[in-house]
Symmetry: C2
């Protein structure tokens, strides 16, 4: 398993990357608090994350990466007029509207911490969570809910205006459910203790981080 | 971790349960070959499984268990006239058509075997796979693909006949993609060796199983 000095280095790198990503606007607009809660734990750092989002993709199958293009993406909401515009444009394959709940990947220093995180996450509804791999960086956990919509928006036949209204309403509801879960996860992680560290940008925050890992 | 004699007992119980489930028709119609491949491994037994299926549920949200009822389920295909009948009946909340790829839960005797299974499964496309828990029975792995459709069939507005035709066509295609993956998983598991044991019902098969675990 990863040794102490390597762990400190990996975590420091992860922390620097996060601050940089936030700086350049690469992070989801509403994920920072959650990441901060995880980074505050001595034996955890976050690796990748999504706060939940709505996408529309042009693809025969919603899970394909190749022969697939993302034609819309929003982490906050899908406006109805946007969907109308999307439907009116030409597409190549099939249009899928996908709503995804929050997903978080985090490395933990050991299995004990991995199980603590997993147990906590499952209790607030991240039921599709597990350990993905163990490698030189530690134990990689994935936290994921069952909150999801994978809707065939259009093959040849476009949805009616009435249907579009319903789809937008339901998609936004589902996105909101995911955001609620994200906030619940943050609270749960903060509540289990060992969250001594603040992922602040001030020198004090930094030195606290260094001391505690 | 689980000791040898306990492992033999847990695996024997799992094997008996499987044979019983097959006997009473409780197993999915097309999962036996896959389970047999896993049960043939000395350090693995299957715990629960689904070969992939299409369901229609009446629920506000597709992931809810409470306030939710399954009104249709089929592991082999959804006929178009069936969907028409479903749409015409009254429903309480919202109708969701869900296509799910194959899912398998298996216990392994140790982490080494768990990683072997996970690596093999990921290579054939079971990308959403991981370790769920470690307990007195061993290490529980979940094998799962990204093959999925979670389609809002009807809130208030029913789909048109044309749309229904498309939905049925695509849903059946996706189900078939899942079945392909299931077969690929079986082949991959058989190909990695250590599959000395046949899960047969004849006494020879049984004694082979006892000898090898």
């Amino acid at each position: 398993m990863v040794n102490d000095s390597e762990w400190i280095r990996f975590k420091e790198e992860a922390r620097a990357r996060l601050l940089r990503d936030r700086e350049i606007g690469y992070l989801d607009p509403d994920i920072w608090d959650l990441l901060e809660a995880f980074m505050g734990r001595e034996k955890t750092f976050t690796y990748s994350s999504c706060s939940g989002r709505i996408t529309v993709i042009d693809s025969f199958y919603p899970w394909s990466r190749k022969d697939s293009s993302v034609i819309y993406k929003n982490h906050l909401m899908l406006p109805s007029d946007e969907l109308l515009r999307i439907i009116e444009r030409k597409h190549m394959r099939r249009l899928w509207l996908i709503v995804q709940g929050p997903i978080l990947h985090a490395y933990t220093k050991d299995y004990e911490e991995a199980w603590t995180i997993l147990k906590t996450a499952r209790e607030v509804g991240f039921k599709h969570s597990g350990i993905l791999v163990e490698n030189r960086k530690g134990v990689l956990v994935e936290l994921r809910t069952g909150i999801r919509m994978v809707h065939l928006l259009k093959d040849k036949v476009p949805p009616t205006l009435e249907e579009m209204e319903e789809i937008v309403k339901v998609a936004n509801e589902i996105l909101a459910k995911g955001k609620e879960k994200k906030d619940q996860l943050r609270e749960a992680i903060l509540s289990i203790g060992n969250n001594s560290v603040k992922l602040g940008e001030n020198p004090e925050g930094e030195s606290q981080l260094h001391n505690s890992v």
